[in-house]
């Protein structure tokens, strides 16, 4: 019951955060020069007519009030440019479904590879496995996503011809998933390694050994559980960002996901879409952080949700 009340409190706080985010985004967005219809080749009168039609000729605070009002009624408006006339909620949910299906697989891959490799590197510190893993993770972190995507494509699709370049063909999800998961995998390796090294020096492990506990219990029960804490912190925002898709991976491999819209919506000043993607992303991050905080409490008794 106590937990339930705390969650309610957090949800209310989250609503407030979202309101702040909506406000800031709305005004920042209007500060960018240009508007959704500036690229229309049509004459100035036609542009003005379009603006009038969507209410963009009204003062900014009225536009803001109207937008908030719509939002409260669950209406995020329609896209102005990119998918003209379609409801933002439909665009976001459809493209998010695509991004999420890739993202979940990339996330699982990153955790399944990153955490164990990080443990191995930490437990064999300064030995051969550690050295190899560290080189790999350093490369993975420092090479930007578009390079990875391009190299993968060149290697697997053009040279070896084992995978298709496009997302909709069979096997087309493999390269986007690798591209998406590479950075988080490598980051998780480094995080886990650092965390486990920190924990291995803790006095309580010596206490466990002094009690006659086997190395198996010392490492797999006490050391691992303690080193999970910083990893959980990272997993919250990571999940939010990986589920909403990477801009690079989705652009290069032509994935019709949410990630692409983040940047293209801004470029084309598709106001309602900018708002839609931002609100969605912010809500997801807030939600994932809440999940993390609850998870924390499960793992670490010292942390209380408040």
């Amino acid at each position: 019951m106590e937990l339930f009340q705390k969650i309610i409190k957090r949800v209310l706080l989250a609503v407030f955060s979202l309101f702040v985010i909506v406000t800031i985004t709305f005004f920042l967005m209007n500060l960018i020069p240009g508007d959704p219809f500036m690229s229309e080749k049509a004459n100035p009168e036609a542009q003005a007519a379009l603006r009038a039609k969507y209410g963009l000729d009204q003062p900014i605070y009225i536009q803001y009030g109207k937008y908030l009002n719509g939002l409260l009624h669950g209406d995020m408006g329609n896209s102005y440019v990119l998918q003209k006339g379609r409801a933002i909620s439909t665009i976001v949910t459809e493209s998010f479904a695509v991004s999420m299906s890739l993202g979940i697989r990339a996330l699982i891959l990153a955790i399944l590879i990153g955490v164990p490799l990080g443990c191995i590197a930490g437990l064999w510190k300064n030995k051969v496995p550690d050295a190899c893993i560290r080189v790999i993770s350093a490369v993975g972190i420092s090479v930007p996503g578009y390079v990875i995507a391009a190299v993968l494509m060149l290697l697997l699709a053009v040279q070896l011809r084992v995978l298709p370049t496009s997302y909709n063909r069979p096997g087309g999800t493999v390269m986007p998933i690798i591209t998406l998961s590479l950075y988080p995998t490598c980051y998780l390796i480094r995080l886990t390694r650092a965390s486990i090294l920190e924990v291995l020096n803790q006095d309580y492990l010596r206490t466990e050994r002094a009690k006659g506990m086997s190395e198996r219990v010392v490492i797999f029960v006490h050391a691992l559980k303690n080193s999970l804490i910083p990893i959980i912190t990272y997993l919250g925002p990571l999940t939010a960002s990986i589920l909403t898709g990477g801009f690079v991976a989705e652009s290069v491999f032509n994935v019709p996901g949410l990630g692409r819209y983040f940047v293209s919506a801004i470029n084309s000043r598709d106001y309602t879409l900018i708002m839609g993607t931002t609100i969605f992303y912010a809500a997801l991050i807030i939600f994932m952080n809440l999940v993390c905080d609850i998870l924390y409490q499960v793992v670490d008794p010292r942390i209380k949700l408040d």
């Binding site: 206490t207 006659g212 559980k225 303690n226 010292r302």
Partner: protein, 331 residues
């Protein structure tokens, strides 16, 4: 036939691997301990007092290496034992408590769970019996409401209470020997006194031997039967409590005694510290390691290590000054 002691350390040598070389930490120390005895090991930081005791349960850090010697427990050498054999002794026949109770308990598990682990490993008690035993143990070390406290996490305990919990954990299997590595150093003075009282009472109730490591001679005087004074990885003086406190022969021991505040001391009287710092173990040669700081140092002290001399039964000292006094008195 020689009598078997509960614990006998023979010529123990330990070194630590540093970047380039092996740095000696313990340079051949020997001592013994009988059942029910309390041995105090005293020395400055870096004198090897903790390292020597961690060797007994083979709990040295990774870069530490035992270079030679024997550690006989009930007549059996612990050093050649494999991991499983030593694990059967740890926490069972020999257990340990540590300096900092704040960091020596795993924060993610309840205190009860951490005691239970030990019982699970070393006994065949069922869950209910284990719980009863934990409650009894917590009660024994003076923790109120043990049924409630055992379900709490270490952060819900104060420093003194945590050290009590550590002691309960260490005593859970009625060990023959308890190694207490500066158990009161991290606690404030009133709690310190309580913990020492507790250890004294438990020693008598459970008839166990204790090795008590500390840099505080005041603490030692309270609880120990025998005292070893260590300096730079060597035992420079050892004896019964009375011999060390009232008949010490080594200038270093004297210095330690002079640096303890006394209750009858007037405010004007200043404490006499030992000047200088402990030597760099890497640079030590054949000299007496204390010669650099010793007010009585003679030529020979800088050239040769002093021999170990017996003052009277049970009281040994390694010092040229005492050697000369003996020669002069014509013995």
């Amino acid at each position: 036939m020689e009598k078997t002691h509960l614990l006998e350390v023979r010529d123990l040598k330990v070194s630590f691997a540093s970047k380039k070389t092996e740095v000696p930490a313990i340079q051949g120390i020997s001592y013994y301990l009988d059942e029910g005895e309390v041995l105090g090991i005293v020395g400055e930081s870096g004198s090897g007092k903790s390292v020597s005791s961690h060797c007994i349960l083979k709990l040295l850090p990774e870069n530490g290496k035992i270079q030679g010697g024997q550690i006989l427990f009930e007549g059996k050498d612990l050093l050649p034992m494999n991991a499983k054999q030593i694990a059967d002794i740890r926490g069972n026949k020999i257990s340990m408590i540590f300096q900092d109770p704040m960091t020596s308990l795993d924060p993610l598990f309840t205190v009860g769970h951490q005691i239970e682990e030990s019982l699970k490993k070393h006994t065949n008690l069922n869950k209910k019996q284990r719980e009863e035993r934990i409650i009894k143990l917590l009660d024994l070390v003076g923790i109120n409401q043990p049924e409630k406290r055992m379900k709490q996490y270490p952060h819900e305990f104060s420093g003194g209470m945590r050290q009590r919990a550590m002691i309960a954990m260490a005593l859970s299997l009625g060990p023959k020997l308890l190694i207490a590595d500066e158990p009161t150093t991290a606690l404030d003075v009133t709690i310190q006194a309580q913990i020492i009282e507790l250890l004294k009472r438990l020693k008598d109730e459970l008839h166990m031997a204790i090795i008590f490591i500390t840099h505080d001679l005041g603490v030692v005087s309270d609880i120990c039967d025998k005292i070893i004074v260590m300096y730079a990885g060597e035992i420079i003086e050892s004896g019964k409590k009375r011999q060390i406190f009232y008949d010490s022969r080594h200038p270093y021991t004297e210095g330690l005694l002079n640096s303890v505040p006394k209750i009858e001391q007037s405010r004007q009287e200043k404490l006499v510290p030992i000047e200088g710092n402990p030597p760099d173990m890497q640079l030590l040669g054949s000299e007496c390691p204390f010669s650099h700081r010793c007010g009585y140092a003679m030529n020979i002290c800088a050239r040769q290590k002093p021999p170990k001399l017996t003052v009277e039964e049970g009281h040994e000292v390694s010092c040229w000054k005492y050697y000369r006094e003996r020669m002069e008195s014509g013995e």
